[in-house]
């Protein structure tokens, strides 16, 4: 046997190489199929089957932070899904609850989960539960009570509670200067769309995430629509008081000089007069926000 790096060994390499390529391709292809076939239930359930935080805390030995980080990575993906179900959000909530048991100082997890659950998921109680848990372990972080304030004010329509949390936030180090004034407005002018608008704007400035910000812009537009509707209904009342009957259309308010012009509807719809009841509705706003109907400082749920 002539032991030279000749054609024989080149052929050998080629053969081995192509065998490996074929096997590798087959493995990757199968992985794609498996991934696709993995039932959605199983995928989402990965989070639901997390052990209780108190057990996990012991089980991960000294590696609590990294364990928390890993669970966070999983939870973040569930937050990020475009199409999200309440179930999915609840799983994510469970995950964050567990991971903050493992690492109670993980403040960004409380914050992000708190905002997402409040702003997107319409799960204010879960949001508040996480945020107040965060406050217990991290009493110095002003953002946590600030977000609780949001949940109370906007999602639970409880300006009194909202103001209470804003005041807690305002006393913490690093809290922005506008907080005490905002807290005062919450109580005094509860239900005032302008106060709500300011709160939303402040929150908007706090958040970096574009998609969260989009949601807030949407909320702000809804508040503006609500404010416009209220303005127009006031015009209708004045019209009725002056002429003893309801106007035939909103344009009558302008032609009779009661208002200068009909504001532009920010959501892309138009304002319409419900002639039978004398109320105004927006075609862009699916339902009027309950919070703004409560003129006096009280609340109802």
């Amino acid at each position: 046997m002539k032991l030279k790096a000749g054609t024989e060994s080149v052929a050998g390499w080629l053969l081995t190489g192509s065998l490996l390529l074929v096997l590798g391709g087959a493995a990757a292809g199968t992985l794609a199929v498996v991934e696709h076939q993995r039932p959605a239930m199983v995928r989402a359930a990965e989070l639901a089957f997390l052990p209780k935080g108190e057990y996990l805390r012991v089980a991960v030995l000294g590696y609590r932070q990294i364990a928390a980080d890993l669970i966070w990575l999983k939870a973040v993906q569930h937050f990020g899904e475009r199409k999200q179900t309440t179930e999915g959000y609840l799983w994510a909530y469970h995950a964050v609850d567990v991971l903050t048991d493992v690492d109670p100082k993980f403040t960004s997890a409380y914050q992000a989960a708190g905002v997402v659950l409040g702003v997107w998921a319409n799960l204010p109680e879960e949001s508040i539960a996480l945020l107040t848990k965060g406050m217990r372990h991290n009493p110095d972080v002003w953002q946590l009570p600030f977000y609780v304030g949001y949940d109370y004010f906007y999602e639970l329509h409880d300006p009194v509670q909202a103001a209470k949390y804003l005041r807690i936030a305002s006393e913490l180090p690093g809290a922005p200067a506008y907080l005490p004034k905002l807290a005062a407005r919450m109580t005094v002018e509860a239900g005032d769309p302008d106060a709500a608008l300011e709160f939303l704007q402040r929150l908007y400035q706090q958040l970096q995430d574009e998609r969260l910000r989009e949601s807030l812009v949407q909320r702000m537009k809804e508040v503006i629509a609500e404010r416009d509707i209220r303005f127009l209904e006031e015009g209708v009342r004045r019209y009725k008081a002056r002429y003893g009957k309801l106007p035939a259309s909103l344009n009558d308010l302008v032609t009779k000089g009661i208002i200068q012009q009909i504001p532009e509807e920010p959501l892309g719809g138009v304002y319409e007069l419900k002639a039978s009841e004398g109320t105004v509705a927006s075609t862009g706003l699916r339902q009027r926000l309950r919070v703004h109907r409560h003129y006096t400082g009280g609340f109802s749920r």
């Binding site: 081995t16 065998l19 490996l20 096997l23 590798g24 087959a26 493995a27 990757a28 199968t30 992985l31 199929v33 498996v34 991934e35 076939q37 993995r38 039932p39 239930m41 199983v42 359930a45 990965e46 089957f49 052990p51 890993l70 990575l73 999983k74 973040v76 993906q77 990020g80």
Partner: protein, 254 residues
């Protein structure tokens, strides 16, 4: 084929006469027993704790055997120079690798079998249900172990035992995280990052696809087609590693 069987049986015998194996097996039985104790201490969910911990013990001990016996399969033969006398026989290096792999496969199978028997007996004592999903989960654990063994064998054909152990352990951990890495990559705005991450994703073994311990303990089975595809994936990946191991081993000097 005969040569492969001779090597495999000898490897199996070597494993059987290795005290470490018995210690590990003892450890597994202890873990399963411990779950009983733990279950008694908690007020509720006896059955769930016994079910969960048993599956975890089987998986953990299996992985330890796969890694630590796996890395020694070939590197120990080289370090102790026993490979010299074997290679002087009419046996090709590929046959040798295949034999070693099959031998450990047999060892793992017997071990899993023993652990499963103990596990099922424990469940019986606790009158915990034995859903079909549990057996599915165990089958997928076995596939995972075959993959991990192949990883260990592959690394040990070209590096030292210690390095092989570290690398196998590393890939085992990565293998359970790749799905998350891919998820993160999808959110990246950089196309390059996305491409690299997707590349890594398909290159690294995805062991999470073979993991259904959580839902199995709840009795939630997966479709048979999923189980078949997942097993096929694990076995194909193992075959890839074994082929690569043979290719490397074929070309090395002792």
């Amino acid at each position: 084929m005969r040569q492969v069987v001779v090597i495999a049986l000898n490897t199996f015998r070597e494993n059987l006469r290795d005290k470490i194996l018995y210690n590990l097996l003892f450890f597994a039985v202890l873990l399963i027993g411990f779950s009983v104790l733990l279950a008694d201490l908690t007020i509720m969910e006896h059955q769930k704790i016994v079910t969960d911990m048993g599956l975890a013990a089987i998986n953990l001990v299996g992985v330890i055997i796969a890694i630590f016996v796996g890395i020694g399969l070939v590197s120990k033969e080289i370090e102790r120079r026993t490979v010299y006398t074997i290679m002087a026989r009419p046996i090709s290096r590929t046959q040798f690798i295949l034999g070693k792999y099959l031998g450990l496969m047999l060892t793992l199978f017997v071990n899993i079998l023993i652990m499963v028997v103990v596990y099922l007996a424990t469940l019986q004592v606790y009158r915990a249900p034995v859903p079909w999903a549990l057996l599915q989960a165990i089958e997928l654990i076995f596939v995972e172990l075959l993959l991990v063994t192949a990883l260990a064998l592959f690394f040990s054909t070209f590096s030292t035992s210690t390095l092989s152990a570290i690398m196998t352990l590393g890939f085992y951990v990565i293998g359970h995280l790749t799905t998350d890495l891919k998820g993160i990559a999808q959110k990246s705005h950089s196309e390059a990052v996305k491409a690299v991450m997707t590349g890594i994703y398909y290159l690294c073994p995805n062991l999470e696809m073979l993991n259904m311990k959580g839902q199995a303990a709840m009795g939630a089975s997966v479709p048979l087609s999923y189980q078949a595809w997942a097993s096929a994936y694990g076995l194909l990946y193992a075959a890839l590693l074994i082929s690569a191991a043979c290719a490397v081993f074929q070309r090395r000097d002792f």
